[in-house]
Symmetry: C2
Subunit: 181 residues, 2 copies
Amino acid sequence: MSLSNALLGFLSYSPMTGYELKKILDDSVNFFWLAQTSQIYRELNNLEKNGCVVSEVLPSTKGPNKRRYSITQNGKDSFSNWLKEANTDEFMRNEFMLWILFSSELGSDELSLQLQIKLREYKKEYEMLMSVKEHLLDYAKLYGNESDNLRWQIVLNRGIHDVSAKISWAEETLSEITGAE
Amino acid sequence: MSLSNALLGFLSYSPMTGYELKKILDDSVNFFWLAQTSQIYRELNNLEKNGCVVSEVLPSTKGPNKRRYSITQNGKDSFSNWLKEANTDEFMRNEFMLWILFSSELGSDELSLQLQIKLREYKKEYEMLMSVKEHLLDYAKLYGNESDNLRWQIVLNRGIHDVSAKISWAEETLSEITGAE
DNA sequence: ACGACCATGTAACATGTTACATGATTAC
DNA sequence: GTAATCATGTAACATGTTACATGGTCGT
């Protein structure tokens, strides 16, 4: 249900194609939600079957035709209901933790190697969030009002808090395991 | 693949029933992995089909029979291979962020209400992690060696870093939105 | 008596992933 | 010329969720 509601949320800003929705997910909410194109197209199909969106084909001289989706009143209502239910699940499945837990047979060199790789990724992620900050302002300007703007900032801030925690964890752990040897 | 590898990891400590595996997941790795019993039984079935585990029925005078699973050499090999691949995905899908992003029509009172609820949950989670700390020591004593022990600590520490970040984010955000009004 | 816990599972459905298929346009 | 981006989708499979079914034991 959540991916469809994310799609409805963005479609409530403006009608969009599946491709555009994919892009918007990728370069804005990417750090807490992602979806394959195949999934997006499937969900859009379902949403159309439920009458939450309607689509129209835009013929194109250059390249393939586009199918643009718009949210319907039905879709707005169902989105509103989802909002009212205040769904706040934030569960994470973290394979890296699983790996760490059982990796003792590989030795601590391998552990610190993986941590170093991760640390680099986390730092990149941090940089990424900073660049998302720029994009977010664009989106806010294009679609949002001031309250939306505030909410984008809050969510982005969460991302920054989370990455910072990961970075300090990785650094602390690295210094602990290299210090212990 | 990851749930099955989690199961293999625990079965490499000691043979267990599906029910016991469910419990061990719930009160140790719960904060970064969870699974329904139905899923665990299904995965155990698959693992048995692949020859990664074998099961035996333990008749019981009180209550239902148990089916106890043991890891096979095949299972150990496949687990080792998974370890060597060093799978380190830590992606999160966070519905709460989605909700925040699109919740402006509900007003900022609703936002701060939800944040307060979350903050209480985060603090409970923090307490929980501290109690997991105790359990972890038990598990380490029962099954693990010293390197396992270190790894349990590292993973737990990650949990603590993550929750602390959530707590400070929620507190900061709450004071920002209540201060802004 | 009643709820919590022990213990196993099936079935249906929802969601997410991977691989494939097609073909034009743009930038270097 | 070749890689990236635009643009749409299908099919098969893997994983996760929810609801149901069964029935005993233990503590209060």
